[in-house]
């Protein structure tokens, strides 16, 4: 089932524990900084389709910065 991951960029502290936890290896550290001065975590748009929707990233995030959605097609 397709999934989408949303990062709250203002909350991310760039710890990369989500990167360590992701079984698909699709989360990367961005070259962008947030207002706190941290280099945020992100998933390149073209790799979002590889997301399994397992939410391991959210489970390991100490800053509650990740929300995972499952995408269901209408019947």
């Amino acid at each position: 089932m397709p999934a989408r991951v949303q990062f709250r960029e203002d909350r991310c502290k760039g710890c990369l524990l989500c990167v360590q936890a992701c079984p698909s290896g699709i989360i990367l550290q961005s070259s962008r900084f947030n207002q706190l001065g941290y280099k945020i975590a992100e998933i390149p748009h073209e790799r979002m389709q590889e997301c399994k929707g397992c939410a391991f990233c959210a489970l390991m995030c100490p800053d509650y910065a990740i929300t995972v959605f499952k995408i269901e097609e209408d019947a």
Partner: protein, 252 residues
């Protein structure tokens, strides 16, 4: 097409940025407590007792009535709160410097008396808040600002295993040690914390969960390297598991 959230953050977890360092696992421990209280439906009648350490501002992150205890004295304060309000669910949230050093007497006697309270003990092997001094839980060889050459057995003694000590006391109904370094361990930690509150709810006695956590800042490691250290150095000395379970219910 519709999007269904897989992640749900409990309402009692206040939607606010934390003051914790990047990768600090106090945040995960807070969330697991919030989830357990929510799952058991006891949020409205829970009273927290926060301690001295980096988690001193617990009440900024959990929307609960909270009493701030002096350093190490949270189990004594919790005893008073629970005896005055026996219908309340009462827990302390303490670090290893707070609980195993200055507060050693309070925790031992609280457990031994079998007070119907829950203790969440976050062991990160240092005094985090004050700059990473040696704690009773600092591992042998671990360098801190007060043992710059590494903790030495002859000079400072061996690191104290609190979960094993607490489990040996007569009033302890439930005692477990968990970690939050992997997905599997976070799930187990969640179950253990829920068990601990369930035992209090059932009036079984004192319950205790030791959570192995990182302090990347004072360990002078990146958050991911600190997380790896939990597996390579902490868990071998502080084994995970359930050390006391008066009802031998759910295994964690």
């Amino acid at each position: 097409m519709q999007e269904i959230p897989v992640t749900r953050y409990p309402e009692v977890l206040i939607d606010r940025p934390t003051h914790y360092c990047p990768g600090c696992q106090h945040g995960i421990a807070h969330r697991l407590v919030a989830e357990a209280l929510t799952d058991l439906g006891v949020v409205e009648r829970t009273i927290a007792v926060s301690s001295i350490g980096c988690s001193v501002f617990l009440y900024n992150y959990l929307n609960l009535d909270t009493v701030e205890a002096p350093h190490g004295r949270a189990p004594a304060v919790a005893t008073g709160v629970k005896r005055a309000r026996p219908e309340a669910i009462v827990f302390t949230y303490q670090g290893d410097g707070d609980l195993a050093s200055i507060g050693m007497a309070e925790i031992i006697h609280c457990a031994n008396r079998g007070e119907r309270v829950t203790v969440i003990f976050v062991n990160n092997t240092v005094y985090g808040m004050t700059g990473g001094q040696m704690a009773p839980t600092t591992l042998l060889g671990q360098k801190t600002t007060t043992c710059p050459g590494g903790r030495c057995l002859e000079r400072e003694g061996a690191p104290i295993r609190m979960a094993e000590i607490i489990a040996s006391l007569g009033g302890t109904a439930y005692c477990a040690r968990v970690a939050v370094n992997t997905v599997k361990n976070v799930m187990r930690a969640k179950k253990a914390i829920r068990n601990a509150f369930q035992y209090q709810l059932d009036g079984k006695g004192f319950s205790f969960v030791e959570v192995l956590a990182t302090c990347p800042t004072n360990w002078r490691l990146s958050p991911t390297a600190a997380n790896e250290r939990v597996a390579t150095e902490m868990i071998p000395y502080f084994p995970l598991g359930t050390f006391q379970d008066c009802a031998a219910t759910e295994e964690v």
